[in-house]
Subunit: 319 residues, 2 copies
């Protein structure tokens, strides 16, 4: 009796990604001996073609983007990446070459982030390609970074640069001139895992910026029962983002609220600013103080004159 084609597909493309506990992807489940004395950190994200990525994005980047948005969740908790499980719903008629490229991207990121595939499921769909990934990491007990914990007077920090992902989407869809840096930032987020590890015990609250800086900072403020103010001029922009904003100042709301940044936004005691800068330097990631938590509620954005900037978009929502 011949095996159905999916077994060959899994053996060819996904078994090489599998760690020891995956049992060659040939059992009903994987086995994992968790690191003794550590707390597991778990997150799951899904991506749908046409919603979370462009249908013509190269397959090499799709699995990597999915892995990286999940790694970004681990980074936000200050966790060490461990392993992942993934389910893939490929459109009927997907080619072996497409899947090979998808898997090659995952292999590259597994090496970069020191993580391995534990298991999953491969199915077909009559709809858009849909991927789901569950990631496992670990932290010392009680050491996880949380969204709750900021206090009025704490400084607001972000890693890297803001707005590149949202502008990259515009560039890839012809609404801004083509730009390799911005496109790459949309397709391949850079999860700040090394920084997150160094912020545990230092940042008072943290999360990753996936739905837009304003909305996500709002979560930190709400969890703290306070508000926050962002100094627009302090928000770190890449050179291409700065050029785009200079050419069209109306892009500011898109930069501050567009999403797909996968940077970390976090709160720190002003007395710890030198330690925060050192953590960024050790992790090889710029960190920038962009504002402060304050009494009240909501997130305000101030221009250099101290006036509030109106924002007409508030962040990504599915519903």
């Amino acid at each position: 009796m011949a095996l159905p084609a999916e077994f060959g597909l899994i053996a060819r493309h996904f078994a090489p990604l599998a760690g020891r506990g995956a049992l060659g992807l040939g059992d009903d489940a994987a086995l994992l001996d968790p690191p003794p004395g550590r707390t597991l950190v778990l997150a799951a994200d899904a991506m749908v073609a046409g919603v979370h990525f462009l249908p013509d994005d190269p397959p090499e980047t799709l699995g990597r983007k999915l892995l990286r948005v999940n790694l970004s969740d681990l980074a936000a908790m200050g966790a060490v990446p461990l392993a992942y499980l993934m389910t893939t719903a490929f459109p009927r008629g997907v080619t072996q070459d497409w899947i090979a490229a998808f898997a090659a991207g995952l292999a590259a990121d597994q090496a970069e982030f020191g993580i391995e595939l534990l298991g999953g499921d491969t199915v077909v769909t009559d709809g858009p390609a849909t991927f789901s990934l569950t990631i496992l990491g670990h932290v010392a007990p009680g050491a996880a970074l949380r969204r709750v914990g900021a206090r009025p007077g704490d400084e607001v920090w972000v890693s890297g640069s803001i707005g590149d992902g949202a502008l990259g989407l515009l560039a890839l869809t012809g609404r801004l001139p083509a730009d390799v840096h911005l496109a790459s930032r949309y397709r391949l987020p850079r999860p700040r895992v090394a920084l997150g590890l160094r912020l545990a015990g230092l940042a008072r609250a943290a999360m990753d910026v996936s739905d837009g800086l304003v909305q996500d900072l709002g979560h930190l403020a709400r969890a703290a029962g306070c508000g926050a103010v962002i100094e627009a001029a302090a928000v770190p922009l890449s050179a291409p983002a700065r050029a785009a904003l200079a050419a069209d100042p109306a892009l500011l709301p898109r930069i501050l609220a567009g999403g797909d940044d996968y940077e970390l936004v976090f709160a720190a005691d002003p007395a710890d600013s030198a330690r925060v800068r050192a953590a960024g330097a050790e992790a090889g990631v710029p960190v920038t103080r962009i504002g402060v938590f304050e009494a009240g509620e909501g997130v305000r954005v101030q221009n250099p004159a101290g006036d509030d900037v109106p924002l007409d978009v508030s962040g990504w929502s599915h519903f």
Copy 2:
């Protein structure tokens, strides 16, 4: 700033399902202190409307089916269920009532199987509803049931009854007369968790029957480097399946190879048959000896006269 609608949706429907480690579904990831000294068991399965379930299946059963097919993977490894993460891609325009019913089904099964939601993601899709679930369980180190381990001469056993799910799909799509039992077995598998726990250290190899008895038994035989023979007359059938087969003997291949059984098929030393029966009795699940592993390769099905029954289908495949 108002929160996007998905936050209300998650708070209303999914937060009540969340366990303590889920942090109210309000952080980037969940925390879990794994049971000390135990090996984790992890599996992930996806379901797509029109492929794994009927688009008009009641929402109450869909989350439960997804949870149960994953619990069936834990059962096959002899694992204790612990927690799960789930991603849901709902079709645009899904109603609050639909999601409420979906979540109510999950709540019922969480209570039944002693498991809780740890996290996940809720998105929309322009395609069919697509769900993915990662389940975590645990076993004593080295005690997991595996697919490899059967030996020629071992007996082939199955739990429950075979073919109900495949016949249920026929009944729900008008190709067989409507039948409440068969429809229920298609929509709500009965994962044999209690039996799996009692088979650890007793069965030599095990897996769950999801892609059809013949194909899945073939996996156990292949892993053992041998073959297996099924006595067709010994395969346990429910009363509705027995009646359907009596009315149309051509249904036999569908019963033996149709899939969606979510029973356990396992190998045991003939000297252990009394212990196997006792395990079934303790778990409250019938167990039936249906054949034997033998030298050679492949799975044969024999009729009562000892002749091989030709099967023209070999099990479910996506590709």
